[in-house]
Symmetry: C2
Subunit: 428 residues, 2 copies
Amino acid sequence: MTTTPSPRTASRADGAPSALRESAARLDADDALAHLRDRFLLPEGVVHLDGNSLGPLPAAVPPALTDAVTRQWGTDLIGSWNTNGWWEAPLRVGDAVGALIGAAPGQTVAGDSTSVQLYTALSAAAALRPDRPLLVTDPGHFPTDRYLADAVAGQRGLQVRRVPPHDLAAFLGAEGHRVAVVSYSPVDFRTGELYDMEALTRAAHDAGALVLWDLCHAAGALPLRVDDLGVDLAVGCGYKFLSGGPGAPAYLYAARRHHAALETPLTGWNGHADPFGLSRDYTPAPGISRARIGTPPVLSLLALEAALTAFDGVDLTRVRAKSLSLTSFFLRCADELLTPLGFTPVTPADPDRRASQVALSHPHAHGLVRALAERGVLADMRAPDLLRFGVNALYTSHRDVLTAAAHLRDIAREGAYDPTPPAAGTVT
Amino acid sequence: MTTTPSPRTASRADGAPSALRESAARLDADDALAHLRDRFLLPEGVVHLDGNSLGPLPAAVPPALTDAVTRQWGTDLIGSWNTNGWWEAPLRVGDAVGALIGAAPGQTVAGDSTSVQLYTALSAAAALRPDRPLLVTDPGHFPTDRYLADAVAGQRGLQVRRVPPHDLAAFLGAEGHRVAVVSYSPVDFRTGELYDMEALTRAAHDAGALVLWDLCHAAGALPLRVDDLGVDLAVGCGYKFLSGGPGAPAYLYAARRHHAALETPLTGWNGHADPFGLSRDYTPAPGISRARIGTPPVLSLLALEAALTAFDGVDLTRVRAKSLSLTSFFLRCADELLTPLGFTPVTPADPDRRASQVALSHPHAHGLVRALAERGVLADMRAPDLLRFGVNALYTSHRDVLTAAAHLRDIAREGAYDPTPPAAGTVT
């Protein structure tokens, strides 16, 4: 989230060195995914590099929502639960997300927030490994992941161990037999470092532990293979690379082999085996339906479903290749234009260790991101000193990247920003 | 939910006895709230008496959602969290609901599903009364309330006691000192019976217990006074009498006196005292903000906010008076037209004990409700044998009521319905 209304003043890279301009032009000319940008309604004059809490508006969303509101709700009314597929939407949209994370149908459900899905997944994991007292999470994990790990551990008598992914193997060597679940993200949300999901998953399994992946910063940006890797549980949001809109419903994946024993803490009626039978006791539905909770926010869910059509026919290996091309080019621009001005790239130069964002540290990150926004370049920042630039291969161009770097250089060189840190409580 | 697409074939009461027709016309002519019907986009030829999982489309919703999607999301992009008030929306919409349930501002938050809010409220109540082992709920409570009472009790070592509201005083006389929380709805969702919230709240408090009200079937239909009655906690959905749309976000009310000690199980980052500080540990926000969990489904939340404007300037005591006039008239129609055909009203005749619906029992409820829908009369059913007709004083007329009763008489008299019970798993 940024603190500034988005303006529309500039998105040109005219002031950049000609070698970079020519590289951007050549890379964009060779971009086989360039046409996908038309699937998004990007405002004129905006460079959208905010991979945080909102992607741009996919072109498929406005007509889908108009239909959902005026025809489905307004005209078909309550019959829409059946005739327009509202009741099945969490499973249908779940499968659409599943296709992007390497999950065969019937293992992913969409609805609720990432926090609720995380709580469900952490609780279910603890219940699947009742004799193991440790819950391993990343000290650098996104706050809500850490808070909910603490909450679930406290409620279930587990202990939390904060182990950086790079130290997991050593930790498991000593304590692995006591670990119930390893709860990680494949991406460090600040630095953009990409961890080795396959190796970490195997290490957890070798220790007899389950693995729970938070895919918020990965789904839609690179190929994921939750089924192939034998992942146990995964969650993720709908609003970053999936562009599902503000607060788009999240999703939960549970591998089919766990369904029969999957105990969810929030036994809402939508997850009942016979939801309309009004039976006295809770009997979980077979399959992933048992991870449903209450009635989902259908309008937001249908917006997400429409947004996901931006991936129709798109090969995620190509998305990954373009994403790496974009971040590599960003790092080159940063090297030439920004490091001389006090910016330090913290995203790994090794492409195998780089997700779909570039983070630069600078002591005035907040003011710089605001100044960028005033010029139409939307990035975001993470306290205290990180500027984050998310690239989305579906709509970001190399020219966008150069534009952002050139504006940032100009702003820093001219001191054209407010160095005051944000007030406490400001939405950043 | 109904099993049939809504059709538009008929909504006329021509075949009804003239005395009833004249009564309906007179009552409608005297209806000071009749103009409020224009705040809803009711399709031609439909009588909407389904107070279940979806109200009709409020006229304010389509333009509000178009603005939210095209301007706020599409153009203002991520800055909308600040400039368009997305971040504050759960509190702002919470206060708008609060105004309808008698809650002063700053005690109600909107977001998540009713099931999630119930889980939070039940867990918080248990934590506020840690030395008391009993959780009292209504054996006739809506399924999700029962399932979640069982879940929370199991997770926190409480025992559930299922006590009908009419038996609460006697139960508390014997066991009151052991009761942590009484979790009730003021309305029996099947029969439409209205319980005495004031007396039940006082009884719980006299025993030192907390009271948690599920207001799903009451909010927006009658004046509620949660602050005045000293209610501790309340939850409710946004999609019945509030007409907030399919799966509209639910709400949670916690009396201000409990805020400082309110422990929520789902410690998502939106409820943190400094959500953007990314601090290591969870510190709950002051006030009702601590009941926020994850990022809310903003589009669905803004649809609910727009829907609530249908109550602007509306006096809920007048809504209640008209609702009683409608249900009284429905019972009169039922008495004259339907009881001779095997229908039995199960809604109390005493207006003080009647909420805003009329329920009739009939062994072929499912087929009859389907046949009504085919004629444009939308009701719903509850297994095995109840037809439910919800009236909403904001848009229901006495003529609507008579139309429904007359069609139902015709269908029953002609046997023009399928007596086969619904298949298991059918969305009813």
